[in-house]
């Protein structure tokens, strides 16, 4: 009933597991039937394997959490050989999240993934706040973002979704720049750059000093950004940030998102995404939003004026 078209790819529903919070799908498939999801975004992939950041990596905050994983991943080749075949058995769409330290790594990474069968969409992560040499650098200034999207677009044969950082100077301008540079969709937001200090040791909690904030605490800001961006671009917008319930998801859809991603909420309740799918279905039925012969999410006018 909630079938959704995301830049040409048909998803069962608009509820997607967010990158970095769902591994490659195997872990949570022990706990629930992940084929009920609209799609799964992989952990952020880089051309070369990365060990990620040393020291403490997660920290709780009021209604949220900070993380400093630092793009730990096995590298794209290992992903393609080992993880992708397994992911393809999970019965849902696959979105490969690709990160990088510099322009070349992005381009090479996307070229490799783009050639792989079974990857439905590429999500270009220009917004990871937790790696020093890059990622977020590309997510702050429009012209830098546009240059990486342009370069990646040339080698990308799949739908290209660009994941934006809430730390961007101007997230609306950023989205427009990515659209103009050839993005087929934008997803937002990644985590907010944040800080925690351990008053006992008198040191930052994280070795990297700052880390990325996610969870319910960021929802009101993320929702504002999604609403602003959805009014400014003509490509689909995927809403992310603190979504924990179907009501949260509905707010993002009403703000103009075509689909949504759920990250932190899955840690709190593994089945949160299935509950969201159920809740949205119930809502559509009760509100008679779905009508016609082949009812689908694409026909639903969620959006507020």
């Amino acid at each position: 009933m909630l079938e959704t078209n995301l830049c040409g790819v048909t998803l069962k529903n608009p509820v997607i597991a967010a990158s970095g919070t769902f591994g490659f799908g195997a872990e949570y498939s022990q706990l629930f039937d992940v084929s009920g999801l609209g799609a799964i975004c992989t952990k952020g992939l880089t051309l070369h394997p990365r060990e990620g950041n040393p020291g403490l990596r997660v920290w709780e905050t009021p209604a949220g959490m900070m993380n400093s994983i630092g793009l730990q991943n096995p590298g794209i080749s290992v992903f393609l050989e080992r993880e992708l075949p397994r992911m393809r058995t999970l019965g849902t769409a696959i979105i490969a999240n690709v990160g990088g330290g510099d322009l070349e790594e992005y381009v090479e990474g996307v070229r490799l993934v783009s050639g792989a069968e079974g990857v439905d969409i590429i999500e270009l992560n220009i917004s990871c706040p937790n790696v020093h040499e890059g990622g977020m650098a590309f997510g702050i200034k429009c012209d830098v973002a546009a240059s990486v999207v342009t370069a990646v677009r040339r080698v990308c044969g799949k739908p290209l979704m660009v994941k934006l950082s809430p730390n961007a100077e101007d997230i609306t301008a950023m989205a427009v720049a990515c659209e103009q540079a050839g993005a087929d969709a934008v997803s937002l937001v990644n985590t907010f750059k944040a800080l925690a200090i351990d008053i006992h040791t008198r040191k930052p909690v994280f070795d990297n000093v700052t880390a990325g904030l996610s969870g319910p605490c960021i929802k009101p800001i993320a929702l504002r950004m999604v609403w602003e961006v959805a009014r400014a671009v003509h490509i689909p917008v995927v809403g992310i940030g603190g979504i924990a319930t179907w009501q949260d998801a509905l707010e993002f859809l009403m703000a103009g998102a075509t689909a949504i991603q759920v990250g932190t909420a899955t840690f709190v309740k593994p089945t949160a995404m299935l509950d969201i799918v159920d809740g949205l279905e119930r809502y559509c039925t009760v509100e008679h939003l779905v009508t016609g012969d082949s009812p689908s999410c694409c026909n639903i006018q969620w959006r507020i004026p």
Binding site: G20, E27, P54, I69, Q72, T266, F267, V268
Partner: protein, 250 residues
């Protein structure tokens, strides 16, 4: 030993909440999800705050119940301690790779510090009693010792304030050469010391690590610990590791 598939269980009923010392409690809940020694559950016993569940080891387990031994350290464990019989907890588990019991042969030492004694009852129940020595360190009053004695294992106690057993750290009364295999669970510095002693004595040692966790199931990479073969996830690759593989002072 194969690990049972984990499950997500909402509203597991609290059967018993026992206060063992000032800040140590034992919570028994109705759950049929089982698990083995060294495995743990992500435990949630509050509505929305704090946000994340807390990892707690299996203290003892049977077909119908799981019990946890825990120390109140912060907000989460404080809320756990407020639970009464009939209350409800949400569990995900059993999780992680527990102790490699098939490799525990001969004279087995289990060296613990503080609440690190939590998984020991479950572990000792699966080992032949005569061969097991638990060397348990505490800050002050010991806990969870009597029940170990009922299993017929030898228990040696060290307390930092000397209120019972030997005064000082448990590592001072632990001689690795007297054992064939060693298991350790407790604060990282203590386990690092046990690992070092075992390495010097060339005795195999399994350590149950701790790390801050978010997902508990291996999906977020939040709980990594450095080992000689790269960063490992404490929740999914562990919590039990070969102590010789762990890079203790990263």
């Amino acid at each position: 030993m194969t690990n049972p598939t984990p499950a997500y269980v909402e509203g597991a009923t609290v059967l018993l909440q026992e206060r063992l010392t000032d800040d140590v409690y034992r919570l028994t809940v109705a759950a049929t999800t089982g698990g083995g020694p060294g495995q743990f559950y992500m435990v949630h016993a509050w509505d929305r705050e704090p946000l994340l569940a807390r990892p707690i080891s299996i203290h003892s387990v049977d077909e119908d119940t799981v019990s946890f031994l825990y120390q109140v350290r912060g907000r989460g464990t404080e809320l756990l301690a407020r639970l009464d019989e009939g209350g409800e907890v949400t569990l995900t588990g059993p999780l992680g790779h527990g102790f490699y019991t098939e490799e525990l042969h001969g004279r087995v030492a289990i060296v613990t510090g503080g609440i690190g004694i939590a998984p020991v009852f479950c572990l000792a129940s699966t080992l032949p009693p005569g061969d097991v020595t638990v060397i348990a360190g505490f800050k002050s009053t010991p806990y969870a010792v009597a029940e170990l004695l009922t299993l017929g294992v030898d228990v040696q106690v060290a307390t930092e304030d000397g209120c019972e057993g030997t005064r000082g750290f448990c590592t001072a009364i632990f001689d690795p050469t007297a054992f064939d295999t060693v298991v350790t669970c407790g604060p990282i510095p203590m386990m690092a010391r046990v690992a070092q002693l075992c390495a010097e004595a060339v005795v195999p040692c399994q350590a149950s690590l701790e790390a801050h966790m978010a997902c508990g199931v291996g999906a977020c990479l939040g709980c990594s610990f450095p080992t000689v073969s790269g960063n490992k996830r404490v929740c999914a690759d562990g919590p039990v590791f070969d102590a010789a593989e762990v890079i203790w002072h990263a």
